[in-house]
């Protein structure tokens, strides 16, 4: 008598199968959120906040300054930066002036939002915000968004390589009938992947993509007789 092997043994799911099922559900959930443009971090942070917990991962700002002092900033090239009545100012010298935020050089994520509130250009040809900044010296690499009345009145982004600002600009926008001097402006630069978007007073003024600089910090710059003062500075998560 031939004894046939029983190939029809049934078994239930083990721990490995359950783990794979759970991992698959998580992966599909994450992909679904990303596909709808919803950040997983945002959902997580909203849930944490709703439960009443605090979490450093979800803190509102990576770096911030209300300019009570110039502490936390490194001056490189030029001079003229000072804190005056709770504002950071650079008042009218003819040179190029760089000021780098020290906090942004320490463990800053690749993606973030830089905000400058109450920036008032009293005179001169403009000021700028460095982002994805590498080298906190007089030879920076990175990008600079510029509020630039001196360039025929334009919002501009330039690439910087080893301390040289590269011509031509990566992108620019010349709005007509724009008051460049005298009014306080709120600036924001959103840095996400290889896409960068600048806002002035809440309105998008330009956007561009460039793959060259994948990480880096934040700084400020002025040039050519600029006199500008700024109220607040922050680098915040970009959900």
């Amino acid at each position: 008598m031939i004894k046939m092997k029983n190939h029809n043994r049934f078994r239930g799911q083990g721990m490995v199968e359950y783990s794979l099922i759970i991992a698959l559900v998580i992966a599909v959930s994450v992909l679904g959120l990303e596909a709808t443009g919803t950040s997983v971090r945002e959902v997580y942070c909203m849930a944490v906040d709703g439960l009443g917990f605090s979490n450093q991962y979800c803190s509102t700002a990576y770096c911030e300054s209300s300019f009570d002092s110039i502490d936390g900033w490194t001056m490189a090239e030029g001079y003229g930066w000072e804190v005056r009545e709770g504002q950071l100012c650079n008042t009218s010298n003819p040179y190029r002036n760089y000021l780098f935020n020290e906090c942004s050089s320490e463990n800053l994520p690749d993606d973030y939002s830089v905000k400058i509130n109450g920036a008032t250009l009293d005179r001169g040809n403009g000021y700028g915000i460095f982002f994805r900044l590498q080298n906190y010296d007089d030879r920076p690499n990175g990008y600079a968004f510029q509020y630039d009345p001196g360039l025929g009145g334009a919002f501009v982004v330039r690439k910087w390589i080893n301390g040289y600002e590269i011509n031509p600009p990566i992108v620019y926008n010349r709005p007509s009938d724009y008051d460049w001097h005298g009014d306080p402006r709120d600036l924001e630069v959103q840095v996400k992947g290889d896409t960068f978007t600048a806002f002035v007073d809440g309105e998008e003024v330009l956007t561009f993509t460039d793959p060259d600089y994948e990480s880096g910090g934040v700084g400020l710059r002025t040039w050519d007789g600029t006199a500008v003062c700024m109220d607040d500075f922050s680098i915040e998560p970009l959900y």
Partner: protein, 144 residues
Amino acid sequence: MSLNNSPSFESLSTGTEDAPKWGKRRIWILIAVLFVVVLILGAVNLLQSDVGKGLLGNGSISGRVVDGNGDVLQEAEAFIEGGNISTFTDANGRFLLENVPSGEHNLVVGYQGVGVQKIVAVNAGVVLDTGTISIEVPEVPWAE
């Protein structure tokens, strides 16, 4: 299938003779294909690396730098982005970058804080002449 060609019960209880050999052959074919793919990817990666480019040999880049008025610029800096090769222009505004690995590079030429960039393709043993490069010299001075 005729009854004479049908497998016997004895052979069914231990599996047909062909199945195990064919399964092993598939696995070896798969391993061989994966090995070849990894080999190709590794070779491509090596050729794109600095080591690979060095193996392919070095070339040179030359050029002449002028300002917006066509006047030559002395002490303008010419360098390869991301590399450690740089030089400065002479009194005639000319530069020669040597020992540049073969391949595509971003050549940057700068003067007093302003620069231009240009993608160049360097071949081993060849001096690539980039011609005349113009830089709009800014009026904004550097602090002393």
